[in-house]
C-alpha cells in the first residue's frame, strides 16, 4: 500500500515535470531571449565578429526566428555547439532550436526524436587537398590520412566511401573545424573532408586559398537545415514557417529594402497574407500579425541572406546552384502562404 503511494507521487511529480517543458514558445517569450545552437565558428555560417556579434548564414535563421517571436533580431543567446554536443544540447532543452549545418537524416528525424523544419542549404560531402599532392580524384586517396569532424554524418559517409571503393585510409578524428584547419595546414592530415560548403568556408579563411583544391567528387547528399525537438508542434511550426517566409519573400520579390513599403498593402494577396495586412496567419501561429515582416527585416529574404554571407561576392564564394529558387532551376521551394 505504502509503496504504491510513493510510486504514485513519483509518477505525478514527473508527469508535471514533463508538462512544464511543453510550450517552447511560451518559454522563449517569458525569457525574452531565444537560445539558438550554432556552429562553434565556421566562417560564413556562424562566427562571431571582432565585436563578439554573431553573424552568418545559419545565424540569420536564429535572428529571423527571434524577430518573428520577440520582434527583436538581437534577442538571441547563441550557444556554440560541436558536432558531438549539438544533439544533447537540443534534447536537454539547453537550446530552443539548432541552426548548425546539420544534415537531415532518417535516424535523426525518427530515432533521435528531432523535427527538421526544412532545408536552408542543399549540400554534399567533398574533399579538400593541398594542390602540391597532385591528386585529382578522391579515388586516388588510397592510404591517405583524412581529418574528419567526429560525430557527424560525414564520418559515416567517409567510412562507406572508402569501403565501397576498396581503398584504405587513416581517419584523424577532431572535434571542431578550427582544429581540423590547424592539423590540415600543418600537414598532419593529407585531406580534410566535410560538407562542400564547409570546405569552401574553411578554405576562404586560409592565408593562401589557391594552394588548396576541392576534389570533384561529392560523395553524399547533405540537406542542411534547422531543427527542433520532437513533440512541440507549435514551436516547430513557428521555426518552419519563419524559414518559409524568408524563402517566399525572395520568390515574391520582398526584400529588406522594400518590406516596410509593401507591408502597407499591395495588390498581390499572397504578399499581403505574408506581411500581415490581410488574413490572420500570424494569429494562427500565436504571433503578432507582422511576424514575417520582422523576420524579413532581420537580415533580408533568403536570397539576401545567401548573398551577404556565403554568396559569390563573399570570400566563400558559393554559387547558388541547387540552392536557387525553384523558379531558377534550384531546389529552394516553400509551400504557399495560404
Amino acid at each position: 500500500m505504502k509503496k504504491s503511494v510513493i510510486f504514485g507521487a513519483a509518477t505525478l511529480a514527473c508527469m508535471s515535470a514533463v508538462a512544464a517543458t511543453a510550450g517552447t514558445v511560451d518559454d522563449v517569450k517569458a525569457r525574452g531571449k531565444l537560445n539558438c545552437g550554432v556552429a562553434s565558428g565556421l566562417v560564413g555560417f556562424a562566427t562571431p565578429d571582432a565585436n563578439g556579434e554573431w553573424g552568418g548564414f545559419d545565424v540569420a535563421v536564429c535572428r529571423a526566428v527571434a524577430a518573428a517571436v520577440l520582434g527583436d533580431p538581437k534577442a538571441v543567446e547563441f550557444v556554440p555547439t560541436t558536432g558531438k554536443t549539438r544533439f544533447t544540447a537540443l534534447a536537454s532543452g539547453e537550446i530552443d532550436m539548432l541552426a548548425r549545418n546539420t544534415t537531415w537524416t532518417f535516424s535523426r528525424d525518427v530515432d533521435l526524436k528531432f523535427t527538421f523544419v526544412g532545408v536552408n542549404y542543399y549540400d554534399g560531402q567533398g574533399f579538400m587537398v593541398p594542390k602540391e599532392l597532385g591528386v585529382s580524384s578522391a579515388k586516388e586517396l588510397d592510404g591517405a590520412t583524412v581529418c574528419i569532424q567526429t560525430g557527424t554524418t560525414t564520418e559515416l559517409n567517409l567510412a562507406d566511401f572508402f569501403r565501397t571503393n576498396g581503398i584504405s585510409y587513416e581517419p584523424v578524428p577532431i572535434e571542431t573545424n578550427a582544429e581540423a584547419q590547424q592539423q590540415y595546414l600543418a600537414g598532419a592530415c593529407d585531406v580534410y573532408t566535410t560538407d562542400a560548403s564547409g570546405l569552401a568556408a574553411t578554405r576562404a579563411a586560409f592565408e593562401n586559398p589557391d594552394e588548396h583544391a576541392v576534389l570533384p567528387e561529392i560523395i553524399s547528399k547533405e540537406p542542411l537545415g534547422p531543427l527542433v525537438r520532437h513533440g512541440d508542434n507549435e514551436w516547430g511550426d513557428i521555426v518552419r514557417w519563419t524559414l518559409n517566409a524568408l524563402i517566399t519573400a525572395e520568390e515574391l520579390g520582398v526584400t529588406s529594402a522594400n518590406v516596410a513599403e509593401l507591408s502597407a498593402g499591395t495588390n498581390n494577396p499572397e504578399i499581403n497574407r505574408l506581411l500581415g495586412s490581410e488574413g490572420s496567419l500570424g494569429e494562427m501561429l500565436g504571433l503578432s500579425a507582422d511576424w514575417a515582416k520582422s523576420a524579413i527585416m532581420a537580415g533580408g529574404n533568403y536570397g539576401e541572406v545567401f548573398e551577404k554571407n556565403i554568396g559569390e561576392n563573399t570570400p566563400i564564394g558559393l554559387a547558388r546552384g541547387l540552392n536557387a529558387q525553384y523558379t531558377d532551376g534550384g531546389l529552394i521551394y516553400s509551400p504557399p502562404f495560404r
Binding site: A10, C14, K84, S107, A159, D160
Partner: protein
C-alpha cells in the same frame, strides 16, 4: 525485610522510537535510509517516464548494429561494419593501453624527480621544484593539447621526406621515421610465425592472441625463473661458505640464449617503415595522439607522484640514514635498501589515488583525437545513436570497474609491503 522485586516490565510504545535513546539512533537511520531510497526511486522513475514520453525508452539494441565509423588506433582487428559493442571494446583497450603506459612512466619519472628534489645539489633540487610546481598547477587538458600542438607543428610531415633532396630524413640508420603524424618504428616479423589463437569466435569480444608473443613470454619467464634459482643457490653458498660464486654470466645465459634460439627458429626479422603513397607504411605506427596523451598524462601525474615520494622519504627518520651510513653503506644503497623500502608504506596509499586519477584523466583523450572508450562509446556511438543515457551509464560503469580493479590490486600490494605488527 525488604523484598527485591523486578522493575515493572515496560511495554513497548511507538513513541519510544523517538523518545527512548535506545531506539532513537536506529529510528533516524531507518528514516534516512527510506528517504534516500525514495529519492533514488523518484530519480530513476522520473528518468524512465521522461524517456518514455520522449519516445526513447531505455534499450541496448543499438549495440548489435554496425558502428559505421572507423577507428584509427586499434589493437585488434576492427572495421566499420563491426558492431557498436566491438567499437566500445576497441576503445576500452585503447584506454587501458594509455593508462598502463602512463602509470609506468609516471611512476619511474615521479620517483626519480621526488628523490632528486631532495638532492643536496642546489640546482638540481630547484629545477625539480620548478618542474613539480609547473605541472601541478596547470590543468592536464592544457598539457595534452600543448603536447599535441608541439608534435604537430614542430615535426616534419611525411611529405617532407619525399623527393630527391628531402627536407627531412629518417633517423637511426633509416629505421625510425619521426613525423607529425606519429613515430614509425620497425616492427617484429617472423618467417615461421606460429599464427594466432582466435578467442570467442566471431562475437564482438573476439580476441586474437599471437602465439609468437606467447612463446616469447613463456621462454622469457622460464629463463627468469631459472636465473632466480641460480641467485638463490648463490645466496645459499654465500651464507654457508662466505664466498659468493660468480654467476652473472650463467644468469644472463639462461635468460638470453633460449630467447635467441627461439627467435632464430621463428625466423625473426624487422619490418622497416618506408614511404609509400601518402604515408609511411610498414613498421609500427605510434600515433601522435597516443604519444601526446601518454606524455602529458605521465608528466602531469609524475609531478604528483614526486611529491608523494618526497613526503614518504621525509617521513623516514634521519636516524635511519645515519645508521645505514655508520654501517658503511653508500648514498645510493642507503636510498634503495633502507629509506625507500620504509617509505613505500607511506607512499603506496596516495599512489593508488594517483593511478586512478591518471586513468580517469585519460578520458580527455578526445581533445587530441585518441579513440579511447570515451571517444567511441561515449563519443561517436552516443552521438550517432542518440542513446545518451545508456552510453553514459555504461561508460560510468566501465570506469568504475577499472578504478575498483586498480584499487584492489594496489591495496593487495599495500598489504604486502605494510609493516607487520606483532
Amino acid at each position: 525485610m525488604t523484598t527485591l522485586t523486578d522493575p515493572p516490565k515496560e511495554s513497548f510504545r511507538l513513541s519510544m522510537l523517538i523518545y527512548d535513546t535506545r531506539y532513537r539512533s536506529a529510528t533516524i537511520q531507518v528514516v534516512a535510509l527510506m528517504g534516500f531510497m525514495l529519492l533514488a526511486a523518484w530519480l530513476i522513475s522520473n528518468t524512465l517516464t521522461n524517456l518514455e514520453t520522449l519516445g526513447k525508452p531505455i534499450s541496448l539494441a543499438f549495440f548489435t548494429e554496425p558502428a559505421s565509423y572507423d577507428i584509427n588506433q586499434r589493437l585488434l582487428e576492427y572495421d566499420s561494419r563491426d558492431s557498436h559493442l566491438r567499437a566500445a571494446f576497441i576503445g576500452l583497450l585503447n584506454t587501458l593501453v594509455v593508462a598502463v603506459l602512463g602509470c609506468i612512466t609516471a611512476t619511474i619519472l615521479g620517483v626519480l624527480i621526488g628523490v632528486l628534489r631532495l638532492s643536496k645539489n642546489w640546482l638540481v633540487a630547484r629545477i625539480m621544484t620548478v618542474y613539480v610546481e609547473m605541472f601541478r598547477n596547470v590543468p592536464v587538458l592544457l598539457w595534452i593539447v600543448l603536447a599535441m600542438a608541439v608534435l604537430i607543428e614542430s615535426l616534419p610531415s611525411p611529405r617532407a621526406f619525399r623527393g630527391e633532396n628531402p627536407e627531412a630524413t629518417m633517423s637511426l640508420f633509416d629505421t625510425v621515421a619521426v613525423t607529425n603524424r606519429g613515430v614509425y618504428i620497425p616492427e617484429a616479423l617472423f618467417h615461421n610465425s606460429l599464427g594466432n589463437i582466435h578467442l570467442f569466435g566471431q562475437s564482438s569480444m573476439r580476441f586474437d592472441i599471437s602465439l609468437d608473443l606467447v612463446a616469447f613470454l613463456v621462454v622469457l619467464i622460464a629463463g627468469l625463473f631459472v636465473s632466480n634459482k641460480i641467485k638463490q643457490r648463490a645466496d645459499k653458498v654465500q651464507e654457508e661458505t662466505g664466498e659468493r660464486p660468480t654467476t652473472w654470466w650463467q644468469r644472463l645465459a639462461v635468460v638470453f640464449v633460449p630467447i635467441v634460439i627461439l627467435l632464430a627458429i621463428l625466423g625473426f626479422h624487422l619490418g622497416y617503415p618506408e614511404l609509400k603513397g601518402f604515408n609511411f607504411s610498414g613498421g609500427t605506427h605510434m600515433r601522435n595522439s597516443l604519444i601526446a596523451l601518454w606524455l602529458a598524462l605521465s608528466l602531469y601525474t609524475a609531478a604528483f607522484i614526486a611529491e608523494i615520494v618526497r613526503g614518504g622519504i621525509l617521513a623516514i627518520s634521519h636516524g635511519q640514514t645515519e645508521a645505514a651510513g655508520a654501517l658503511g653503506l653508500r648514498q645510493g644503497r642507503i636510498m634503495s635498501l633502507v629509506v625507500l623500502p620504509q617509505a613505500l608504506r607511506v607512499i603506496i596509499p596516495p599512489m593508488i589515488s594517483n593511478y586512478l586519477n591518471l586513468t580517469k584523466n585519460s578520458s580527455l583523450a578526445i581533445a587530441v583525437g585518441y579513440m579511447d572508450i570515451t571517444g567511441t562509446l561515449g563519443g561517436i556511438t552516443m552521438n550517432q545513436t542518440g542513446r545518451e543515457l545508456e552510453c553514459v551509464v555504461l561508460l560510468m560503469g566501465v570506469y568504475l570497474l577499472i578504478s575498483l580493479s586498480i584499487s584492489f590490486v594496489m591495496n593487495w600490494y599495500n598489504k604486502r609491503v605494510a609493516l607487520v605488527e606483532r
